[in-house]
Structures are given as C-alpha cells and as structure tokens.
C-alpha cells in the first residue's frame, strides 16, 4: 500500500475530507457569508444613500468586510482537529506536513474565501459600482482571499494551544494582511481613477506566490509545536 504513495492523491483526500466536513456543518461557511453581507450592508445604511460617495468607498468597505468574515472562520481551521485528536494524525501523515497544511488551507479557502468572492458582485450593486469595477473587485478578491487563508493559517496554528485564541488570532493576522488590503482595494480604486491596474495585480500575485510557498512551512512548524 505505502509503496504506491502518491502525494497529490493524499492532498486531494485531505481537501475532499475538509470540504465534506464543511458541507455537513454549513453554519460555519454560511455564518461567514452572512457576516460579510450584513457588515457590507451596514455601511450604506450608516453613511447614507449618496451614490458617488458609496461607489468611492465600496472597494475598501467590501474588502474590509471580506477580511473580517474570513477572520471569523479561521479560528476553526485547526481547532476542531486539535480537539478531537485528528490533528495528531495530520502531523503523522505520510506526505510532507506543509503539503498537508496547504491542502487544508485550500479547503478553507474554497469553503469561505471563494464563497465570499462569488457573493461580492451582489453586494457591489448596493454600492453603485459599475460593472467593470465589479469585475476588478472580483478578480482582486479571487487573488486576495487565498492570501487571507494562507496568512491566516499561520495565525490559526500559532494560537491553537492558547486559551481564547480568537481575539489573539485577529490581532496577529490583521496587521499582516494590510498589504493585501492595500493592493486589493487599491486595484479597484485605481481603475475608478482611470489608472492602469496591472501593477496591483502583479503585486497581489507575487504576494500569493510567496505565501503559497512560505505560509504552509510556517504553519507546519507551528502545528508541530502545538501538538507537543
């Protein structure tokens, strides 16, 4: 059996397991989604129905709402596994631990980040965003939300063994994702100002490439400490 060990197969199995768990416990993904919708809807209510103002602040508002919604679900990324003992089995996996962690992070992104991204155009309508800006917002979220999951996974692993880690997790991760926010929201801003947006996307993609490589390694190291 172990002679035919195939790393992609194991990774896929981890993704599939986490996705079917997410499907069976829908409230986690759904509460993140509803949080996103509610927070994003509060701004037009609080600021007032001024179309030009709303369109101007929309990218930032939607990005911040997505960021906070992603934070909500991060705490559970490893906490459930830690509690029921399956985290031990994950650390004892036959594939390199960073790859196993990457699979878990991918499943987390699909069940939260991707869902938020898909929901964002509907919210963008509330902010009177034109369709081109909406497309750019969608694309920036598509590149940016995996970054949130990747950077967040480091925080989730680090705060695993601490009591009441939820608050600590946000304090730890939110400052780290500021660059993602700046360039994600900045892309839409630039487009609205009639400037080219390529630079923002290059930078976001570069950050994603770096995080794809380093974040799972850092998370794996933190997990090893957490299970001790």
């Amino acid at each position: 059996m172990s002679a035919s060990l195939s790393i992609p197969k194991v990774m896929l199995a981890i993704v599939r397991r986490d996705l079917s768990l997410a499907l069976r416990r829908k409230n986690d993904s759904l509460s993140a989604l509803f949080f996103f919708v509610v927070v994003a809807s509060l701004f037009p209510l609080g600021i007032g129905p001024e179309p030009t103002l709303l369109a101007k602040i929309a990218p930032g508002m939607l990005w911040i709402a997505a960021l906070l919604a992603a934070m909500l679900s991060l705490g559970r990324l490893f906490a459930d596994d830690f509690q029921d003992g399956t985290l031990d089995q994950l650390v004892l996996t036959a594939i390199p631990l960073p790859l196993a962690v990457l699979s878990k992070t991918a499943a987390h992104w699909i069940s939260t980040g991707l869902v938020l991204t898909i929901a964002s155009p509907i919210l963008a309508i509330q902010f009177n965003l034109d369709s081109q800006s909406m497309g750019i917002l969608l694309l920036s979220l598509l590149i940016g939300t995996p970054l949130l999951s990747l950077i967040g996974s480091i925080g989730a692993a680090l705060t695993l063994a601490t009591r009441g880690g939820g608050m600590l997790l946000s304090l730890l991760v939110l400052p780290l994702v500021i660059p993602v926010l700046i360039f994600g929201a900045g892309a839409v801003d630039a487009h609205q100002a009639g400037l080219p947006v390529d630079g923002h996307f290059y930078l976001l993609s570069a950050m994603l490439a770096i995080a794809l490589f380093f974040a799972p390694i850092a998370t794996a190291a933190s997990l090893r400490i957490a299970v001790e």
């Binding site: 197969k9 031990d88 996996t93 036959a94």
Partner: protein, 215 residues
C-alpha cells in the same frame, strides 16, 4: 548502542530518553530496544508519562534528551517514511463527529497514504463487529464505540510494522477486549511490533516476547 555491530533494519531503539513536562522530570535515561515480534508494554501511574513516551516514539513530542532510532536512522531523518511504518492511536479516538465510521477510516487511512476503498473500510468494521455503525455519524457513538471504530483501523494496518496504542483497552467490553488481544498477538506473530500503555492487567501476559517499561 554505538558499538553495536549491525542494527536490525527495522528495530526501534530508544536511547537515554528523558521527558520533562512543565519543569518536572517524568522519566530519565530510558533505553529500550524493541525488536520485530516484540511487545513493548508501558505501565505506570496516571501522569507518569506513558502517553508522552508513546508520543515521543511516533515523533509528535521531542525528547528532552536522548534519541529514537528506527533501524539505523533517527526517526526525524526521514519523517514521512517513518510515518508510513507506524499507526498511532492516541487516547482520543481521532474521529470526526460529522463523518460516518466508514468515512473516518478512509480519511485516516488516506492521511498515511493508504488507498482504502469503501468496501475495505466496511469490511474492517464488520470484522470488528461494528458493521451496523458503518454509515452512522461518529458523533452519535458512545465512548466505547468510538474507541472500537478507532481500533478497527488496525484491521487494515497489517503492513505497518509499528503499532503505537495509548490505553487501547480503555472503555472496551469483554468481547472487544479479547478481539483486540487477538489482533495484537497476530501482529506480533507476523513480526510486527506493538507498543502499548495500559494500567489494566490483560491477558497479553501470555506473550513471552515482552519488553516491560515501568514509569
């Protein structure tokens, strides 16, 4: 140790292990060799470090001092390979409450790189007398049932030389207890190694190739 002529390719060597938890020394200078076909029996009172020792052996816990070798290599040298050689069942059953018993066995197996089909998992459960639980969600199980589902993985772990079992007899009824003993004996007979912690007096006493560690 260092002047041993040739190590058995797959024997487990614990050398001068020490474990410190929270500033307290649990055990010190522990050296054990576990050869194929042998049972390592870890006994000791609560908090003596039985679980810690088992977690050290599988590499989850770094020893405060000493080293652990699998064959000629440190277990940390080729961690991923070592993980394919062992099955570790800790004191929590490591089941996902939202997955069925069958799915749990498949998921746990896939982590260690084993291709477990649905029929294999079902078969393992049937052989453990748990066929009726196969498609039920694990969160509905009793403590003993959870423990037995976790142990059903052993039915599919014949090719893993090293079994590490933390208090496997806990919460088991008489029948399951005997079935587990039979599984362990069969594994030892085929040349496997079993390390288990237990504070119960179990009939495994009849096995003559036993290494005892009292913490």
């Amino acid at each position: 140790m260092s002047n041993a002529p040739a190590m058995n390719p797959s024997a487990l060597h614990l050398q001068n292990l020490a474990c410190m938890r929270g500033g307290k020394t649990l055990f010190n200078d522990l050296s054990v060799v576990l050869e194929p076909g042998h049972l390592l029996r870890i006994t000791g009172s609560n908090g003596a470090g039985k679980s810690s020792l088992l977690r050290m052996i599988c590499g989850l816990l770094t020893p405060s001092m000493g080293s652990i070798q699998w064959g000629a290599n440190s277990i940390h040298a080729d961690r991923d390979f070592f993980h394919t050689q062992l099955i570790y069942l800790g004191h929590t059953p490591a089941l996902k409450g939202d997955l069925s018993a069958e799915e749990n066995i498949i998921a746990a197996g896939s982590l260690s790189g084993d291709d477990i089909t649905s029929s294999m998992a079902r078969d393992a459960l049937v052989r453990s007398g748990l066929g009726h639980l196969a498609s039920k969600l694990s969160r509905t199980f009793s403590q003993g049932q959870k423990q037995r589902v976790a142990l059903a993985r052993l039915q599919l772990a014949e090719d893993k030389p090293l079994w590490l079992l933390d208090e496997p007899f806990n919460a088991l009824d008489q029948d399951a207890n005997e079935a587990l003993q039979a599984l362990i004996k069969a594994h030892l007979t085929r040349g496997g190694m079993v390390a288990l912690s237990s504070h119960q007096v179990v009939a495994l006493d009849q096995i003559d190739r036993v290494v005892r560690v009292s913490l």
